[in-house]
Symmetry: C2
Subunit: 218 residues, 2 copies
Amino acid sequence: MTPTITAFATSPDRGAGLSRDMRVRWAFEEVGQNYDVRLVSFKQMKEPSHLALQPFGQIPTYEDGDLVLFETGSIILHIAEKHPGLLPDDANARARAISWMFAAIGTVEPPILELQTARFAEGQESWTEQRMPLVKDRIRVRLGELARRLGDSEWLDGAFSAADIMMVHVLLRVKPSGLLDEFANISAYTARAQARPAYQRAFDAQLAVANAAGQQAG
Amino acid sequence: MTPTITAFATSPDRGAGLSRDMRVRWAFEEVGQNYDVRLVSFKQMKEPSHLALQPFGQIPTYEDGDLVLFETGSIILHIAEKHPGLLPDDANARARAISWMFAAIGTVEPPILELQTARFAEGQESWTEQRMPLVKDRIRVRLGELARRLGDSEWLDGAFSAADIMMVHVLLRVKPSGLLDEFANISAYTARAQARPAYQRAFDAQLAVANAAGQQAG
């Protein structure tokens, strides 16, 4: 059976690849699993039929027969458990990769979300311009710690894994700010990931949705 | 072999149970696994020997023989995979519980972290008092969504699981603000979890560390 995910009918980033369905598309492409996409409007995301799948009214969701999942980390972990190629066979290396999946969501992404909130939810507030350097410095702290650990490594921990999908996509969300450019090895790491054919196919697929909706990447 | 975790030598919450080692202690207690604790000072957390275990200089870490893990989500998932009782046997129910583990970290905790950042990192800034209602409203949105899904259920999805450990502990971090009191079913849910003997044992163990350090819960 082909799993179905949900994605924005009109993506806020107009096909720039920053919506969270991108992570899941990328994981599917890495393992060669076909998938269907059901597009949902912002209105539909808050309606009972979508809330039954995603309690917080977000995308993506994952449906496969009776199984409904939400949260990209758990969807990608599920894909990685069903298909070879996204998690190491060695039990310890597998557990470490899952540590990095949680680190992407729990440690690296929160200050990045704060920047998005400052820009979009508080963009018109009197304090936002003055506050922005503090917000950006908190991201720099995390990026600096990540850069120190990454060093010259190709991927986070040995071979490419689901952890790199999660981390790279979290990092790409802050790329438009220019902050990644301050860390040469992180920039090289994200570029290496973006050069993967699976990333490219996933990117093209989400861009096609934006193009079909008459959107243009900003 | 007895696993070892790290915890604050002097916890910022003075034994109130809000430090992240509490989640891991609670999981160990639920499955009846003994564990050792190595206390680290704030200075030690930023030193190379700790950074080798935890790239972001945080606690807790988990060590068991050759295996080193970080991030509470992955540590608790690992404990749940090694011991019965923290994840359902049914494959679909297990995957759904992992969705909730990621939801605790990726969706519910970020606005709560923002409140902590506003209080502690920006507590002296001119804009903080004025900004606080916006920060709190973002937490209310998430709590409202969670309350709607939780309804009258005892736990998040069927039997008590690792998902409830993660979610309850994330929620307890915002309890001092009074926001949980606005959602009767969430308050009942966290109280139900705190009444579990395993929670109590874990709480007492972390409080004993604070007491031994001459700290007193604020």
